[in-house]
């Protein structure tokens, strides 16, 4: 058996949501068998933080949660400016893993001061976040990160596998999918049947309710959340929380251009609108009805 990999978990400006999401990992004992959590801010780890900081131990993963800043008035930990801690630990980590959209792109909290609050390598979509360059960073965006995205990336690296990354340094196995894939409303999307109102099982949320599923990279509807559901399965639109521009404005409204919604990721306007026009010209009776009609 290969040796255990060590983790230090560090928080920037955060809501702790990624830590709590990680705690939803179903096979935690199996994870713990291969990893040592040297330090986590929320529960008892193997080491004391200050001794870790002041030592010169190297370790495998620095997991970052939360937006970052060089400004010590914006963030400090252990009565120290945050950058002192981050720079010290980053220099000794084999990989830096950004857990969540805040550490990846700046996320929600970046909006307060986008000049000073950023992700590790990105500020929104622009390169140049807390660091200008660094070649050992992996972004696992999401607000929050899904526990499986995080754990499975760590385990793959532990096995010595190469993790393929997209242009935003996100693992392709997760982020080549769109949140739209696997959504139970796909057929309504195909035939352009809008969800008349929220709170119902029928209809797609793309046309009126702001769903960003077709342009958001993530496999939410493939692996599901809490092993059971997802936003769209609970009848709410995808908020695009894995993307660099999360949170967009007016998240519950579909942004339209001349009354047409945006096209899905990587599909030309011509292709999408021609197909949409054709689909819309048919009225599919089955899709206009309730999924389960008690009176049938």
């Amino acid at each position: 058996m290969s040796h255990k990999y060590s983790i230090i978990w560090l928080q920037g400006l955060t809501c702790n949501g990624n830590s709590h999401s990680f705690l939803n990992y179903t096979h935690m004992p199996s994870f713990a068998a291969s990893f040592d959590m040297l330090y986590h801010p929320l529960w008892c780890g193997a080491e004391d933080f200050m001794s870790l900081l002041n030592s010169d131990v190297t370790f495998d993963f620095l997991i970052l949660e939360g937006a970052l800043s060089h400004d010590e008035r914006l963030i400090q930990r252990f009565n120290l400016p945050f950058y002192e801690i981050l720079d010290t630990l980053a220099a000794r980590a084999k990989y830096i893993i950004c857990a969540g959209s805040c550490a990846s792109f700046g996320g929600v909290f970046r909006l307060r001061d986008p000049e000073k609050i950023t992700g590790a390598l990105f500020s929104g979509k622009e390169k140049g976040g807390y660091w200008l360059e660094k070649n050992n960073i992996i972004n696992i965006s999401g607000c929050p990160v899904h526990p499986r995205w995080l754990v499975e990336t760590l385990v793959a690296l532990h096995h010595g596998e190469k993790v393929l990354l997209d242009e935003f340094l996100r693992p392709k196995e997760v982020f080549s999918y769109l949140a739209h894939h696997g959504c139970l409303r796909n057929e309504y999307f195909e035939w352009k049947v809008d969800s008349k109102q929220l709170g119902e099982r029928e209809g797609c949320l793309f046309y009126e309710h702001g769903c960003l599923g077709p342009m958001s990279h993530a496999n939410c509807n493939k692996i599901l959340w809490n092993d059971i559901s997802s936003k769209t399965r609970a009848g709410s639109p995808c908020l695009g929380c894995t993307e660099f521009d999360f949170p967009r404005r007016a998240l519950y409204e579909t942004q339209k251009n001349m009354s047409l919604p945006q096209t899905p990721f990587g599909i030309s306007k011509r292709a999408y609108y021609s197909l949409a026009g054709v689909a819309k010209s048919f009225k599919i009776e089955r899709l206009e009805k309730k999924l389960i009609d008690e009176n049938d």
Binding site: L13, T14, C15, N16, G17, N18, S19, H20, S21, L23, N24, M28, P29, A32, D36, M37, H40, P41, L42, W43, C44, G45, A46, E47, D48, F49, I75, Q76, R77, F78, N79, V108, F109, L111, R112, C143, P144, Q197, L198, G199, E200, R201, W225, N226, D227, I228, S229, S230, K231, T232, R233, A234, G235, S236, L239, P247, R249, A250, L251, Y252
Partner: protein
């Protein structure tokens, strides 16, 4: 005068506790929270419904609570503009199930991940512990997960699920979803019966005496023994003044209690103070935590407060013996968890799926102007969202979180609830534990 400054670790976020000492006793305490994030500012001028997506990001451990407080505030905005929304019982039940899932998970997490190891540390200050090496930690983690999975049948995901909307909820569960959710809940109950309470839930809920709880071996009775051993049955007392502004199935309306006297309360007497914060004075301020008071008094909020205003027989017995000591506060979370497990089982059993999940408002949200306040009982206590909207855009958004009630900063003449509980202690280790008995959430506080 001696002064010490220590970091409080292993809480939600981080706090610094500055203690003033006289004759080897704490004479005053300052509780400092840094790392402010500014959600209230970020919300300004955004479309009203964005609050439903952004306020859950205030806090990773109580995101459903924020979503629900936010939707209540938004629904009040409609009311203030002349359209009172009808929320079906089904939607109300689903909101309550979601909130209960969050509370149940919170209390289990807090007791097994925080209180038990911290008690070991009080007994032996060199105790480090290692969650990944502790069997019970994994069992508790599994129960926590099941509790959240139960909720996610309705909320899509936890944390940061989206499932509420003005007029109701967005999910429309099937009977089969209820059966699956009930299965998850049963797993949580089984964990609690075996480990937390050491007896069947029903039996635990029938108790009205502390001695009954203490007589059966369990994680809870172990914790109680340890707390008594270290004096927490006397230490950590505060004003013995409680407040529960949000509603609950166990009492009517908003209530307050002074010792065991329960009276009605009204949100109009809530007052938010910026005293000692960086908001009031950049240089003299020392924390980002605002303070909340009721009629200029500090009150304790949270599970103990809820059980005291609902005149819970078992908690009253603990209170009769130990007053509002740290022990009583800790036990209250365990007792509340038991009630919530039972209540949630009943809710899932009785929910009427035939009702609509949501009845959309008639008024176009883009022309909505008005204001509204949403109050709920979050895991740690009363949570208040208050919003002013103009033509569909947020003019101002104000959030008072439970930690702001319990862990604000007053001054020597008028200390806050937690400050009062710390004064007179003779060691930092004890102060650290007593602070944690409030289930500190610095994340919420520095929203």
């Amino acid at each position: 005068m001696k002064m010490t400054k220590e970091i409080i670790e292993r809480i939600e976020g981080e706090a610094t506790l500055e203690l003033e000492w006289e004759n080897e006793q704490v004479s005053f305490a300052k509780i400092k929270f840094f790392n402010y994030r500014g959600i209230e500012e970020i919300l300004k001028k955004r479309p009203l419904l964005d609050a439903l997506a952004l306020t859950p990001r205030v806090c990773g451990i109580c995101s459903h609570s924020h979503a629900i407080a936010s939707v209540l505030a938004i629904e009040e905005c409609y009311k203030s503009a002349g359209e009172a929304l009808h929320i079906t019982q089904k939607a109300k039940d689903i909101r309550e199930i979601a909130l209960n899932a969050e509370k149940i998970h919170n209390h289990i997490k807090w007791y097994f991940f925080t209180i038990l190891p911290e008690l070991k540390r009080v007994g032996d200050t060199t105790y480090a512990g290692n969650a990944f090496k502790d069997k019970q930690w994994f069992q508790a983690q599994s129960a926590v997960m099941q509790s959240l999975k139960m909720g996610a049948h309705f909320t899509g995901q936890w944390p940061h699920g989206s499932f509420v909307m003005a007029g109701g909820v967005t999910c429309d569960p099937l009977k089969s979803d209820l059966i699956s959710a009930q299965g998850c809940l049963d797993a949580v109950i089984a964990f609690c019966e075996e480990h937390f309470y050491g007896m069947p839930l029903e039996e635990f809920l029938s108790f009205d005496s502390a001695l009954q709880v203490m007589s059966s071996p369990s994680a809870l009775s172990y914790g109680i023994d340890e707390m008594i051993k270290h004096g927490f049955d006397r230490l950590g007392r505060s004003f013995d003044r409680f407040l529960a502004l949000g509603e609950s199935y166990r009492y009517e309306g908003s209530l307050k209690a002074s010792k065991t006297t329960v009276l009605g309360a009204d949100i109009k007497y809530v007052h938010e103070s910026l005293q000692h914060t960086f908001f009031e004075d950049k240089h003299k301020g020392y924390t980002y935590s605002k303070s909340a008071m009721y009629k200029r008094n500090y009150c304790e909020v949270g599970p103990l407060a809820r059980l005291m205003v609902s005149k819970d027989a078992l908690m009253r017995d603990f209170h009769r013996r130990f007053k509002d000591a740290a022990l009583t506060r800790v036990v209250a979370r365990a007792v509340e968890c038991a009630h919530l497990l039972w209540r949630t089982k009943v809710l899932i059993d009785h929910i009427n799926l035939k009702e609509p999940s949501l009845i959309p408002p008639k008024k176009d949200i883009h022309s909505l102007s008005g204001s509204g306040i949403g109050v709920i009982e979050a895991p740690r206590g009363s949570l208040i969202h208050s919003v002013v909207v103009h033509q569909g855009l947020i003019e101002s958004y104000d959030i008072i979180t439970p930690t702001v009630w319990n862990l604000g900063n007053g001054d020597k003449q008028n200390p806050s609830t937690a400050q009062k509980a710390l004064i007179g202690l003779n060691s930092f280790t004890k102060a650290d534990f007593i602070l944690k008995s409030f289930d500190v959430c610095s994340v919420c506080t520095t929203q």
